[in-house]
Structures are given as structure tokens and as C-alpha cells.
């Protein structure tokens, strides 16, 4: 497959090269790829100098969309799809406690690293980081790097990295925004920048609240419960002298959600009310020191804590029904040294230490996880046309074998307007805490889930308390079994072709091979209540492959258009092997005729759309100082296990009756400047009113908003 991709690229390259020769060659690299990014190399560099597929969402586009939700902005990008945690959708219209994340290159949200200013957010819930934790009012740009970025960022960056870069205060400024939308959604934002001599200060605050909504009136409680979010950011930059710069920043977020739902302790329903409180805070200190014009270093300390506290009370007597608590703390000192005169030939090396501490009602003990890491990266510019980045990272952790993650990326500029890019990298994802330490017994059904490291201990406790038959030999399971990290090899190859100063086409082919996927399994014996005991082991091998393509065309100062498309195949290798061995059958649910599943019938992993497309259209009317901003996203059809109760016994997506139809989300925003300082915005989100309460509970029907923005600069 990789070979085929490469041949295709070369073929396209040759054709493009031939056609380009007839046109006038421009000396300078066109401006469209001149955006400065930091995520791909941990140093500032132009997009056109980086041999990796990188995309930038500018603050202007965020602002023009008028949206307040990061996930809504991300899902409009090429190849990014909102993936509801299936555990959440299975709750059939109940509030989804896990939220939704971004699927990238066909990989689940757990495989994309989310960074704010280069530092990771912690607190994944079933693999998903609640993106509502990031306010969008002070975003400078969003950088999306596709393909494994583990060589710089460590665990979780298998599919890629989404880095949210916040603004740096550069001038005195005051900004206020009021946003009001359907479902009594109100957002109030204020930010102020003060720049005085060597000191620059930024203050940002946001209050965001909504009544939530109910997509299924037949089910007690709302689909999304009412909530209030508070966000505060402070950033202080002290330019000590021309060699030293100190940055201090702090981020605080708290969401309180007001839950109200039914439980079924016995057969009679009981109303449960309570709150879920998510708190996220961080402190970051960075000292950048330039030793001379060749050497600089940056030393930093990042400390962050995340907590999730859910309290539920029975309405009838106000007694505590359930309390679930999770606290996660990460402290990370890091040092990075940059050596080199030119951006395109830097040598970067760094080392850091992670101290992570986790404490939850569902884990038996408080758990500490300490690790250290070392990374190196060399950028080479060779004969002015070739850029190479080679890097590797070494992670040493107490819980699993040390990981070495290398990566190499090459860009070749045939001409300034035509850049070929290719990269190969390794990525890994550490087993999460629940896969290691969970000790949970479902009170309703009675099954038990034990993390891999808790297995021996948990089994002994179950047998001592008589929940496992004393005749069963649990000895083979008492030795702690280590889970290995999930590993991937990612290959990305493509090109950026600049047609002229206004237009660029970008194409990227990708293939990710993931092994050691951690899956739950059940032990070969049951508890005395005949319920299963589950634990985790490294099992599956899957791959995803496909193509991402996008084009930008700025017709003139009035019109611009951006479009993207992703083609995706994602399959389980073990299933393919079973099909090859003629071991996988399916049974027609109507005729009960059993047949073998063929290779062509197997459509791949559930919840992956083969086709995705997105379109952005912008129209500026200079005379009226108004802008129309239209975004559309098409998500093609995808499979859903057991859709409408369908079952054919194959356990894989091989039948159209499991297919969820594709849909289009269409948003329109109109902005108008009033005077120099004021702006009014109004918009319609989900104009086509797409609703799927069961599978897409995160999508409310058509909704409306108005914004009033004020900006004062001095």
C-alpha cells in the first residue's frame, strides 16, 4: 500500500512538475504557507519549511465563525470528525458523561494529544478530554499536526497533535464580548492587555452557561444537562533584557453541571439529582535565555491538576446515592536547548520529568506515576531544496517498558511553489490508569472489572470473600501482568502545490498501523453469581489509511474559499485474517441462512466514515464593513454496531443494515463592524436541522446566536 501511495505521489509530482515549467517561476514562497507554527518542531518555523502535514486555524477564522465551542470549530476541519464515546451514545438519550472528542485519521479521540500552548491537558474520561474546558476567546491560532508526534510529545500523540496557542499581549487592548444563543446559552467574555516597558500582561475571563437541551422527551431528564463554566487566564511576559524572557501563565476552569436523571435501584425508578464538577487548573513558568546568536535554551515548569467530582442524591430523602471522584495531578519540569543560527538547521534537544499522581474512588490506592524523557531533533537544509527533520524521544516509565520513538521527515522543493513531503514516525500510547488499576464491580449486574495490575489482588479478594468458587485455581493470574503501551507506525506523504499567490492545493496520504491495542477480555471462570470478571490485555492490531486533500483559493479581497476532503479506510487485521482463513460467518437475521463473510463485505471498523468533506466560504463587503462566513461539513455514512437491534452474528461491520446515513452540518455567520470599536454578529448553526438523538446527542437542531463585540486598542 505504501509503495502504491509513493508511486501515486511521484506520478502526480511529475505531472505537476511538467505543467509548472510552462508557467513563470516565482522566486519567493507564496504567502499562503508563510504562517509561523511551533507545534511541529517545538521551535518557530514557517509551514512551508516543515515536512509534515500541518494545518493552521487562524484567530480570524475562529472569530468570524462567532462560535464559542472549540469542538464545533475543529469538526469543520478536513478529516476531523466528532466521535462520541460509544459508551455515551449507548446510554440512549441520557446525559453523556464522557463527552465527545475528535477522531483524526480514523483514530479515536484517545489517540490525539491536546495541548494548550504546547503543554498537555490531563484528565481524560474514557479516553476523551472535554474540549469545553478550553475557552476560545483568546486563541491566537490552532495548529493541527497529523501523524505521530510522539518523538516530541510522548504518549498519546499517535494520530497527531492539536495545539491551541493563546494570544500574547503585544499592545494595550480591551475586548468584551456578549454571546447569546438558543437554549438560553449566554457567554460573557472580557480580556485586557497591558503592555508597559518590559512587562506585558494579559487577563482573560469567561463565563459560559446554558440550559442544555432535551432531544428525547420520553426519557426523564435532559440530553445535555444545564451547566455553568468559568474560565480565567493570566499571562505575564517579562522581557528582562534582550537575552532573557520570562513567561508566567495560569489557567483555571470550572464547570458545574446540574444533573437530574432516573435510576433503577430495584424495579421502581428513583429520581437522582446532583452536580458534576470538573475543575482544571495549571501554572506554567518559562525562562527563555539566549546565550549567543547560536545557542538558546528554555527551561520550564508546568504544573496542572484536574478533578472530577460527581455527587448524586436520591430526591425522595436527600440521601447520598453515589459519589465518584477523580483527581489527577501532573508536574513537569523540562529543559530544551536550541543550537543553530538558522531556523531550518536547528539542533534541538530536551529532557523532562513527569510526576503524575492520581486518586479515584474507583482505584484502590492512590497511584503515582513517574517518568522521565529525553528528546533530540535535528533539522537539516540541504542544497536549499531539501529540508530534513530527524528526531527521537526516549521515555522511561516505571510501569511499562521504555519507549524509543523515532521520526524522520523530508520535504523536497522542486520549485518554490511545489513541495513534496514525506514522513515516517513511531507513536505510542501508555495504558491508562483504569486499564492498570481499576477495581470496579457493577452493582446492578454484578460483573467485575479489574485493571491488569489489580487483577491478582482483586481475584484474591473476591475468592476470600466467597465471590469466586474456592475450587477455582486463581494462581496463574496472581503474577502481575504488565500491559504494554499501544504502538503505532505512521506514514504520511503528500505535497503542497501553490498555484499562484491566491491558491494552494495540499494533499496528504496516510497510513497508521497500530498494534498492541488494549482490549478488555474475560477470565475463563465466573464469579459465584455467574457474572464475568473482566480485565485488560494487549490484543488487536488495526490500521487506518487514506488521503486528505484541501485547497484554498482567495479570489480577491472579497471572496475566499477553503475546501477539504478525506478518504478513509480503517480495518482490524485479525478480522481480515479470520476472513482469509474462512473462520468468520454471518447469519441473515431474516432467513437465518449462514454464510462466510467475504473480504469485500467487511467494511471496516465501526464509527468510521469513508468520506468526509468540508467547505468554508467567506465574503467580505468592504463598503458595508460586513462579512458572511459559511462553513459546511459532510460526514459520510458509517457503521454502528447493533443499529436498530440488527445482529448477524459476525461481530463486524459487514451489512448495510448497520449503516448510519451521512449528514451535513451547515453554519452561517454574518458580522458587521459598527464604527471602529463595535461589531455585531449573528448566525445560524446547523441550518439544515440535522438531529440524531441516539447517535449524535451532541448535535442540537438548528440554533441561533447573536454576538456583540467591543474592541479598544491603544
Amino acid at each position: 500500500m505504501i509503495q502504491r501511495i509513493l508511486y501515486t505521489i511521484f506520478a502526480i509530482a511529475l505531472v505537476s512538475h511538467a505543467s509548472a515549467q510552462t508557467k513563470q517561476v516565482e522566486d519567493s514562497i507564496p504567502k499562503l504557507l508563510d504562517e509561523i507554527v511551533v507545534t511541529a518542531t517545538k521551535t518557530e518555523n514557517k509551514v512551508s519549511n516543515i515536512p509534515l502535514p500541518i494545518q493552521v486555524i487562524s484567530a480570524k477564522n475562529v472569530q468570524l465563525s462567532g462560535s464559542q465551542k472549540l469542538i464545533d470549530i475543529l469538526q469543520m476541519q478536513t478529516g476531523l470528525v466528532i466521535a462520541n464515546n460509544p459508551l455515551g451514545t449507548a446510554l440512549l438519550g441520557y446525559p453523556n458523561p464522557f463527552g465527545e472528542g475528535i477522531q483524526m485519521q480514523g483514530l479515536d479521540p484517545a489517540y490525539t494529544l491536546i495541548l494548550v500552548d504546547g503543554e498537555p491537558l490531563i484528565g481524560r474520561n474514557a479516553g476523551i478530554i472535554n474540549l469545553g474546558r478550553i475557552a476560545i476567546g483568546n486563541i491566537k491560532q490552532i495548529e493541527i499536526v497529523r501523524g505521530p508526534a510522539t518523538c516530541l510529545y510522548g504518549s498519546d500523540a499517535l494520530a497527531g497533535v492539536i495545539n491551541i496557542i493563546t494570544e500574547e499581549p503585544v499592545k494595550n487592548q480591551l475586548q468584551l464580548q456578549t454571546h447569546y444563543a438558543t437554549n438560553n446559552t449566554l457567554s460573557l467574555t472580557g480580556s485586557g492587555n497591558i503592555v508597559h516597558k518590559k512587562i506585558a500582561l494579559e487577563l482573560f475571563a469567561n463565563r459560559y452557561s446554558s440550559d442544555g437541551y432535551d432531544l428525547d422527551k420520553n426519557i426523564y431528564g435532559k440530553t445535555v444537562d444545564p451547566f455553568i463554566d468559568y474560565t480565567a487566564n493570566v499571562k505575564l511576559i517579562y522581557n528582562i533584557d534582550h537575552k532573557n524572557k520570562l513567561t508566567l501563565s495560569s489557567r483555571f476552569f470550572r464547570e458545574t453541571q446540574f444533573n437530574n436523571y432516573l435510576i433503577y435501584p430495584e424495579t421502581l425508578p428513583e429520581i437522582v439529582k446532583g452536580t458534576t464538577e470538573e475543575t482544571d487548573g495549571s501554572l506554567f513558568a518559562l525562562l527563555q535565555h539566549r546565550v549567543n546568536n547560536k545557542v538558546s535554551y528554555a527551561s520550564s515548569v508546568y504544573a496542572t491538576s484536574y478533578s472530577n467530582l460527581a455527587n448524586a442524591y436520591l430526591q425522595k430523602n436527600d440521601s447520598l446515592y453515589e459519589k465518584i471522584q477523580l483527581t489527577d495531578i501532573l508536574v513537569r519540569p523540562e529543559i530544551q536547548v536550541n543550537i543553530g543560527k538558522h531556523l531550518s538547521s536547528l539542533f534541538v534537544t530536551g529532557a523532562g520529568y513527569n510526576y503524575e499522581h492520581i486518586n479515584s474512588t474507583r482505584y484502590k490506592d492512590v497511584n503515582d506515576l513517574n517518568s522521565w524523557y529525553l528528546f533530540v531533533q535535528k533539522q537539516i537544509q540541504w542544497k536549499s531544496k531539501t529540508n530534513i527533520i530527524a528526531g527521537a524521544r526516549f521515555d522511561k516509565n516505571s510501569l511499562y517498558p521504555a519507549q524509543l520513538s523515532p521520526k524522520i521527515a523530508i520535504a523536497y522543493k522542486f520549485q518554490p511553489r511545489f513541495i513534496l513531503k514525506g514522513s515516517v514516525g513511531a507513536g505510542y500510547k501508555a495504558p491508562d490508569f483504569s486499564q492498570q488499576y481499576l477495581n470496579f464491580t457493577n452493582s446492578l449486574v454484578g460483573y467485575t472489572l479489574l485493571g491488569a495490575r489489580e487483577l491478582g489482588n482483586g481475584l484474591q479478594m473476591l475468592q476470600e470473600s466467597g465471590q469466586i468458587d474456592p475450587n477455582i485455581n486463581i494462581n496463574p493470574y496472581l503474577n502481575e501482568k504488565n500491559l504494554s503501551p499501544e504502538k503505532s507506525i505512521g506514514v504520511n506523504a503528500g505535497f503542497d502545490y501553490t498555484l499562484n499567490a491566491h491558491a494552494v492545493v495540499r494533499v496528504n496520504f496516510f497510513r497508521n498501523d497500530i498494534s498492541n491495542l488494549i482490549e478488555s477480555y474475560n477470565l475463563p471462570f465466573n464469579k459465584t453469581n455467574n457474572q464475568s470478571i473482566f480485565s485488560y490485555m494487549n490484543l488487536d492490531k488495526v490500521f487506518t489509511e487514506g488521503m486528505e486533500a484541501s485547497f484554498t483559493y482567495n479570489f480577491n479581497q472579497h471572496f475566499s474559499i477553503f475546501g477539504g476532503y478525506q478518504y478513509l479506510i480503517a480495518k482490524d487485521k485479525e478480522i481480515l485474517q479470520k476472513i482469509k482463513n474462512e473462520e468468520l460467518y454471518k447469519r441473515d437475521p431474516v432467513t437465518y441462512v449462514t454464510t462466510l463473510v467475504t473480504k469485500s463485505e467487511y467494511k471496516g471498523l465501526y464509527n468510521r466514515s469513508k468520506n468526509n468533506a468540508n467547505l468554508l466560504f467567506q465574503y467580505n463587503n468592504i463598503l458595508y464593513k460586513a462579512t458572511a462566513f459559511i462553513t459546511a461539513k459532510f460526514r459520510g455514512s458509517y457503521g454502528y454496531s447493533g443499529l436498530n437491534g440488527f445482529q448477524n452474528g459476525s461481530g463486524v461491520y459487514d451489512d448495510d443494515r448497520e449503516m448510519v446515513n451521512g449528514f451535513v452540518l451547515l453554519n452561517l455567520t454574518i458580522s458587521k463592524k459598527i464604527g471602529y470599536r463595535w461589531e455585531a454578529q449573528t448566525g445560524i448553526e446547523n441550518m439544515l436541522n440535522y438531529i440524531n438523538a441516539l447517535l449524535m446527542p451532541n448535535i442540537f437542531g438548528r440554533s441561533y446566536f447573536i454576538n456583540v463585540n467591543f474592541k479598544f486598542e491603544k
Binding site: 459508551l87 451514545t89 482490549e519 474475560n522 465466573n526 459465584t528 455467574n530 447469519r587 454496531s641 447493533g642
Partner: protein, 199 residues
């Protein structure tokens, strides 16, 4: 609640019909076809009970739980666990062989080689999450019996049958309670009353 869809198999009916037609035409009547009965049935397995629901293949009927210590039943189901009437599970003479392949093309059952339940938690039919007779989607909670898997069963009184579980559905959603009360098992089987292993 029992949703029964007992029917004499079309195959059996067709054999009888062709047999009748043949009778008129041919001089020597063919030997009578073996009385293999083909049945498709659905039974409800409630979540609320802690005892197995017992079934008799001969009678195509649920056997009262009070008769659990008799040989009147052949298999029992509780949640996803299936017991066979012999050894640790009952006084019968039953056993089971789990087969992979096409149910329809299976024409004979061997007379020996049947497994039985050794203890109450070590059952002959594997009901494990990944290894067992069904696929279970941890996310959507859908059960689907693995296609291509069926059972050759020796009944409590020593007769032979082949059985395939066709579907397992949730049932008993009583609003506003959205959690199901029970599982509906739909299965089909051929039961050979003459004591041979021919279907």
C-alpha cells in the same frame, strides 16, 4: 411470557407431501423418512431471577423450575450461561459439542464425544466475553450469537439434537424504565426422536 413459534419444519412437511405424491406413482412405497422434528422457538430469560430457565427439546417447552432436579429438561439458560442436564448441572444423561460451520449442512451427530458441566461455574458451553458463543459489544450492549457456531446436544434422556441460537434481544422496556427486564432467546433445532444421530 412465552413467545412460541413452534412449527413442523417445511422440509419435513415437504418430505411428507412428496411422499404422498410418490405413493400414487410408484409401486413400492419408500421407507418412511426419519421423524426429525425441526423447531424454531423463542423463550424469555428474565434478569430478575437467579435460577436457570429450563427447556425440553422433546416437548419444545419451558420446564418448570421446580423440576430442575429431574431429567425433564435438556438445557437451561441464565443471562448468557447455558447448562446441559448432566453431571454438575442435573441428573440427566446430557452433553454438548460446540461446532463451527453451517447448521444446515450438518446431517449427523456423533454418538459420543460430548462434554458436560464439571462445576457450576465451569460449563461445557463457553459463555466467555470474547471466547464464548456470542459477540457482545461492550459499548452498545448488543448480544449477537456468533454466526457459524451451533451445538450438537445429547438430551437428558439420551436423544440427539442440533441447535443454533439465532438471536438474543433485550425486551421488557416498561416506560419510563428504559432498562430491559429480560433477554429473548430465539433458537432453532432439529430433534431426532428415534434415538439415532441422523437429522
Amino acid at each position: 411470557m412465552k413467545m412460541k413459534t413452534l412449527k413442523i419444519s417445511l422440509v419435513a412437511a415437504a418430505v411428507i407431501v412428496t411422499g404422498l405424491i410418490s405413493c400414487g406413482k410408484e409401486e413400492v412405497p419408500p421407507p418412511p423418512p426419519p421423524p426429525s422434528v425441526s423447531v424454531t422457538d423463542s423463550i424469555e430469560i428474565p434478569f430478575s431471577t437467579s435460577h436457570y430457565t429450563f427447556y425440553s427439546l422433546k416437548d419444545s417447552a419451558i420446564v418448570n423450575a421446580t423440576d430442575s432436579a429431574t431429567s425433564q429438561w435438556d438445557f437451561g439458560i441464565l443471562f448468557v450461561n447455558i447448562i446441559i442436564n448432566s453431571h454438575a448441572s442435573g441428573p440427566g444423561n446430557g452433553g454438548v459439542i460446540t461446532k463451527m460451520g453451517l447448521f444446515d449442512t450438518c446431517t449427523t451427530a456423533p454418538l459420543s464425544g460430548y462434554s458436560y458441566d464439571t462445576t457450576s461455574t465451569n460449563l461445557a458451553i463457553d459463555a466467555g466475553l470474547t471466547t464464548g458463543w456470542y459477540n457482545y459489544d461492550l459499548n452498545t450492549h448488543v448480544f449477537s450469537p456468533k454466526a457459524g457456531e451451533y451445538f450438537l446436544i445429547k438430551t437428558a434422556d439420551g436423544h440427539y439434537a442440533k441447535l443454533e441460537i439465532l438471536s438474543v434481544d433485550y425486551a421488557g422496556y416498561t416506560p419510563p424504565n428504559p432498562t430491559p427486564d429480560s433477554l429473548i432467546y430465539t433458537f432453532r433445532y432439529n430433534y431426532q426422536a428415534d434415538g439415532s444421530g441422523n437429522f
